[in-house]
Each structure stands twice: as structure tokens, then as C-alpha cells.
């Protein structure tokens, strides 16, 4: 329940943010009046950071980025994971063996280092090509990579669920009635597998947001996209001068990730029949 409230808060902020924010996100005018590193005040409720940005505005504009990263990465991961796991579980045999070894291969790749390397290399490669003009190219790359390396846990669970469900009597009954394989997969097996998959996906969203923050914190993020990790990156060196500039985005990350983890907990309790009553 608390998880839902926290997530609802983030979502509402992300949607109404542009009307809520007191300044435009790229307004650095505080620099001109020597108001950078400004402590929280009525004019700047969360203070200003070393670049003269209004911290509250930047935190608000960071919410849609975080959600886009979390949902986008998990969308990619779910598509790959359910496809790979579902095929492995449903077909079994050699297909299962091969796909699960592939999953394990992806599981042992040091994802973080990989993403940093790819993001940096890609950033160099695109210079001078048409790709350069694609908006948020860097952020999209990160989302895609988080998705491409985030699917193994989903695939493993999807495999287990498909394996369990394909032997269930109602699936057998559907087959005996003459159902097409398509109906069996998408009408009988997948919807019954979704509850447990939703738990892993909710956890994954929080994980992806955290991962993007870490990437941005290391300075590999998208310079054009406003993200909480990037705020930390800009301001961690002045932690002792203006701690609010770091505390605010840090707290935002904390609330969002906690929200998704609590949601995952709540979902797994809600779907667990043994805990009912």
C-alpha cells in the first residue's frame, strides 16, 4: 500500500511537474546574482546548486526521466525475457537447454562495466552521423542496454511458470477442445503467469532506475536529460557547501526505488494464496 502511494506521488509529480516547477529546468540565473549554493529559502524551497539551478525544479524534472528509464528498460527486458523463457518452458527439450544456457551467459556478464563501455563508445561513434540529432540518444541507449541485460531473471521465472502451467489440466483441457497453440499460449498460459512475473518486473523497475542513477552519477548519463543521478554527479564535490543539492535528488531516488520494491512485496503477498484470509 505504501509502495503504491510512493509510486503515485512520483507519477503525479512526473505528469504535472512542468506546471508545478517554480523555474525552468535550465534556468541558471542564480549564478548572476551570486545565489548559487543558496540554502533553501522561499524563492528556492530546496535551495540552488553549484550551477545555479533551482534544485526543486531539477528534482521535479528528474521524475519523468526516472520513470521512463524504469518502465522503458523493463518493457524491453519483459519482452525478451517472456519470449525466451516462455519458448524455453513451453517447448522444453533442446530449445529449453539452449535458451537457458544463453540466459545464464547473460547473467554472468558484468552489466555495469559493459553499459559504461558501450555508452561511451557509442557516444564517440555517432559523432558526425545522423544519429547525433536523435533526441535523448544517450538516454535511449542506456534504457535499451538496461533492458538487454536485465531480462535473465524474467526469463527464468517465465520458464518456470510456463513449465508449470503447460502441464496443468486446464491447458490440457484446452488442447483437448482443439485450441490453437496461439490461444493456449496467450489466453491460457501467459495470463496465468503474469501475476508472478509482475513481481519481478516491479522489482526490476526499481533496479533499472537505480542503475541509471549510478550511470549518471559516474558522468556517463545523458547530458541533455535531467536525471537525479546527474544532479548527484554535478554536486557531490560540494557536499559540505550545499548538502541540499545532493540530499534532494538522493531522497527522490530513495523514495522511488523503495516505492517499487514495496509494490513488488505487496504484489507477491497479494498473489500468494497461502497468505490470504
Amino acid at each position: 500500500m505504501l509502495g503504491l502511494i510512493l509510486i503515485a506521488l512520483v507519477v503525479v509529480v512526473a505528469i504535472v511537474g512542468p506546471w508545478l516547477a517554480p523555474y525552468t529546468p535550465n534556468d541558471q540565473s542564480a549564478m548572476l546574482s551570486f545565489a548559487a549554493h543558496g540554502a533553501p529559502s522561499w524563492a528556492h524551497p530546496f535551495g540552488t546548486d553549484r550551477n545555479g539551478y533551482d534544485v526543486l525544479t531539477r528534482v521535479i524534472y528528474g521524475a519523468p526521466t526516472a520513470l521512463a528509464v524504469g518502465l522503458g528498460a523493463m518493457l524491453v527486458a519483459s519482452l525478451i525475457g517472456i519470449l525466451v523463457g516462455g519458448v524455453a518452458g513451453y517447448l522444453g527439450g533442446l530449445a529449453d537447454e539452449l535458451l537457458m544456457r544463453l540466459t545464464e551467459f547473460f547473467l554472468v556478464i558484468p552489466v555495469f562495466v559493459m553499459i559504461l563501455a558501450v555508452v561511451r563508445l557509442f557516444g564517440v561513434v555517432v559523432v558526425g552521423t545522423w544519429l547525433e540529432s536523435v533526441p535523448f540518444l544517450n538516454l535511449s541507449t542506456i534504457v535499451l542496454l538496461l533492458g538487454i541485460f536485465g531480462w535473465p531473471p524474467i526469463a527464468r521465472l517465465a520458464r518456470a511458470e510456463f513449465l508449470r502451467l503447460k502441464g496443468m489440466d486446464f491447458v490440457e483441457a484446452a488442447r483437448c477442445i482443439g485450441a490453437q497453440p496461439r490461444d493456449i499460449l496467450f489466453r491460457h498460459i501467459l495470463p496465468n503467469a503474469l501475476p508472478s512475473l509482475a513481481v519481478v518486473i516491479a522489482l526490476g523497475i526499481g533496479g533499472a532506475i537505480l542503475a541509471e542513477s549510478m550511470i549518471s552519477f559516474l558522468g556517463f548519463g545523458d547530458p541533455k536529460a535531467i536525471s537525479w543521478g546527474q544532479l548527484l554527479y554535478f554536486n557531490y564535490q560540494v557536499l559540505r557547501v550545499s548538502p541540499w543539492a545532493v540530499l534532494a535528488p538522493g531522497t527522490a531516488i530513495f523514495i522511488t526505488v523503495l516505492g517499487f520494491n514495496l509494490l513488488a512485496d505487496g504484489l507477491s503477498d497479494a498473489f500468494n494464496p497461502r497468505l490470504k484470509q
Partner: protein, 341 residues
């Protein structure tokens, strides 16, 4: 009268890593239009596999490796997958052992019934809904429109089995395969469901294959009975002959081990309920010759060596036993036994 379904020498083998297990190794039976055939045997005798094989739906790692299946004159083993799918549910329908698990828990009853009619009969949604409601009324569900909006967990076990029966009947099948349809129900509900099945079979001119281990149930429902043991047919005859003049030693033993209400087990002639000595054989390494010979009280040396072929001893009475006149063929064992696929 021509047979509706003929199963001849059906073989279903399990291909496991430790070798080939012949779960069904030569089962024959035939069902005539509008009759109920009881397929009786112990657990693991291959009776469920045989009924799934009729739909060509034996679960992997099992495969149909031999024999022939003819339904309404068509060779089922020669049909392509699409034609077989068209047959399942519309001409041959199945009722399962456990109604609690044979309905999709997250779809309403109505949705599950309507989708079948839309696949097989290409009815409009409204027409399919009306037909489903009509069928539910036919199986004795009082308020079908309301029930169709409910989910399986909101219904009782007996109710669910009625819905499974309705689902099987949706497309007017010629043959119903009922795999222990009442095993998981209360005794009172069992009687109701059996009456319902019998009544519907009569009214809708269907034939039924009743798979069961319960001699009493089969005696009540079936016109003819096929007894199977360890994947092979022992004896086929009409119900009267099976109960009054059984020939195969296994049929006799099976009947002796069923408790009867007209016998006084505490005194007099039958001091205890007789059982069949030994255990059902391990199907990965079945005994040679007649499968029943290690447990058979009449077994001779030949029984371990020769495989009995079915022989007709009287019109409609077929027995596979060397001592009842079956010709024996040297048993070469299962081809491919012990070889991984």
C-alpha cells in the same frame, strides 16, 4: 453395426533418458455408436494414455509408436495437425478427472465456453452465448446467465464438473472420453454426475469411453467392458459376460478383489477380501510373455515365453490368454528397449 472408433494394437511408449517404457503396448478396443465402453485397469495400466492417444495428445516424452486409430472411418494417425484440432472438441470431446483444475482460473465460465463455439462452429458472440446457456441448463445448472459471469473458484466441485461436461458437449460430439469423471467428487455428487452422463449420452446419441478403475461404476454405466493390464488388453466382452463369466485370470482376480455388499466377509465362505498378489510391473522393464504371468495363479512355463494374441472365444468375447485358447507368439520384447532416443 460399424464401429465408431476402432483402436488396434495401440502402442504408446515413453522415451526417457533411462530408456523406453512401453506404457501402452498393444491395446485394442472398439466403440460402437451410442454405446458406453468401460476401459478398466489398475493405476498405471495405460488406460488414461490410451484415451489421450485417441486425441493424439499423449504428453511428451511419450509418443504413439504403433497401432491404428480409426474414427468414423478416418485414420486419425494420418490426419494433419489442423484437421486433428478440428476434430478435438467438436467430434471427440474429453471430460477430465479433476474438475477443479480443468477450468482456466482467470477466465469466466462464459468466456471459456463461448470461445470454443467460436473456434469450432464460427458462431457470433450472441449465438454462442445462447448456446452455452442452453447447454448449461441441460447439464442441470439453474441460473446459467449468472453462472457464466462467475469464475471457476466461485463454484463447487460438482458444479465445475457439470460445466466441464457442458463444455465437452458444446459442439455435439459423437464420442465422449470420460477419464475417471467422478473420482474427485463426493459420493452423493458422483451419483448425480453419473446419472447426468448416462442421461445425456442417451438423449444426445453419443458414444462414451469410460475410463475407470472402479468395477462398480463401470458395471453400472457400461454396455461393454475392456480390461487392460500393464499396457495390454486382457479381455473384452459385454458387461454381463465380464461379471458373470469372466475368462481371463486377471479379470477374475480384479472382480474378486472388489468388495461386494452381498458377501459376508467376517464369517463363512469368504473370510477376507481377496487381493492380487504382487505388484503391477515396472513398465520400464515389463515381464516377458504374458504381462500378468508373475501374478497369475494359473501361470505355466509358456506364459513367461509366449505373448498371447487376442482370440474370439464367443461372439463379442475376446480374450488374450494362452490357457483360454489364445495363440502364443514368441515375445521378442519391446523393440528399442534400453536405447535412448
Amino acid at each position: 453395426m460399424t464401429d465408431l472408433l476402432t483402436v488396434d494394437g495401440l502402442k504408446v511408449h515413453f522415451f526417457t533418458q533411462s530408456g523406453v517404457a512401453p506404457a501402452v503396448d498393444g491395446i485394442d478396443f472398439a466403440i460402437r455408436p451410442r454405446e458406453t465402453l468401460g476401459l478398466v485397469g489398475e493405476s498405471g495400466s495405460g488406460k488414461t494414455m490410451a484415451s489421450l492417444a485417441v486425441l493424439r495428445l499423449v504428453p511428451p516424452p511419450a509418443r504413439i509408436v504403433g497401432g491404428s486409430l480409426h474414427f468414423q472411418g478416418r485414420d486419425l494417425l494420418a490426419l494433419d495437425n489442423a484437421a486433428m484440432r478440428g476434430l478435438r472438441g467438436s467430434s471427440i470431446a474429453m471430460i477430465f478427472q479433476n474438475p477443479a483444475f480443468s477450468l482456466n482460473p482467470i477466465l469466466t465460465i462464459g468466456a471459456q465456453l463461448i470461445e470454443i463455439l467460436r473456434w469450432h462452429e464460427h458462431l457470433s458472440h450472441a449465438a454462442a452465448r445462447d448456446r452455452a446457456a442452453e447447454l448449461l441448463r441441460l447439464v442441470g445448472i439453474a441460473d446459467p446467465v449468472h453462472r457464466m459471469r462467475q469464475f471457476p473458484h466461485e463454484l463447487s466441485g460438482g458444479m465445475k464438473q457439470r460445466i466441464c461436461i457442458a463444455r465437452a458437449l458444446l459442439c455435439n460430439p459423437a464420442l465422449i472420453l470420460a477419464d475417471e469423471p467422478t473420482t474427485n467428487l463426493d459420493v452423493t455428487i458422483q451419483a448425480q454426475i453419473l446419472d447426468l452422463l448416462e442421461d445425456l449420452r442417451e438423449r444426445l446419441h453419443m458414444a462414451m469411453l469410460l475410463v475407470s478403475h472402479d468395477m462398480g461404476l463401470v458395471a453400472r454405466m457400461a454396455h461393454r467392458i475392456t480390461v487392460v493390464y500393464a499396457g495390454r488388453t486382457c479381455e473384452t466382452a459385454d458387461v454381463r459376460t465380464i461379471f458373470h463369466a469372466p475368462l481371463h485370470p486377471y479379470t477374475r482376480a480384479l472382480l474378486d478383489s472388489a468388495p461386494r455388499i452381498d458377501r459376508d466377509y467376517e464369517h463363512q465362505a469368504h473370510p477376507t477380501l481377496r487381493t492380487i498378489a504382487g505388484r503391477i510391473p515396472d513398465l520400464a522393464a515389463p515381464p516377458s510373455g504374458c504381462r500378468f504371468h508373475p501374478r497369475c495363479p494359473e501361470a505355466t512355463a509358456d506364459c513367461a515365453r509366449l505373448r498371447p494374441e487376442p482370440v474370439q472365444v464367443a461372439p463379442g468375447h475376446i480374450v488374450s490368454c494362452l490357457l483360454r485358447g489364445s495363440p502364443g507368439v514368441p515375445d521378442v520384447g519391446v523393440p528399442g528397449l534400453g536405447v535412448s532416443p
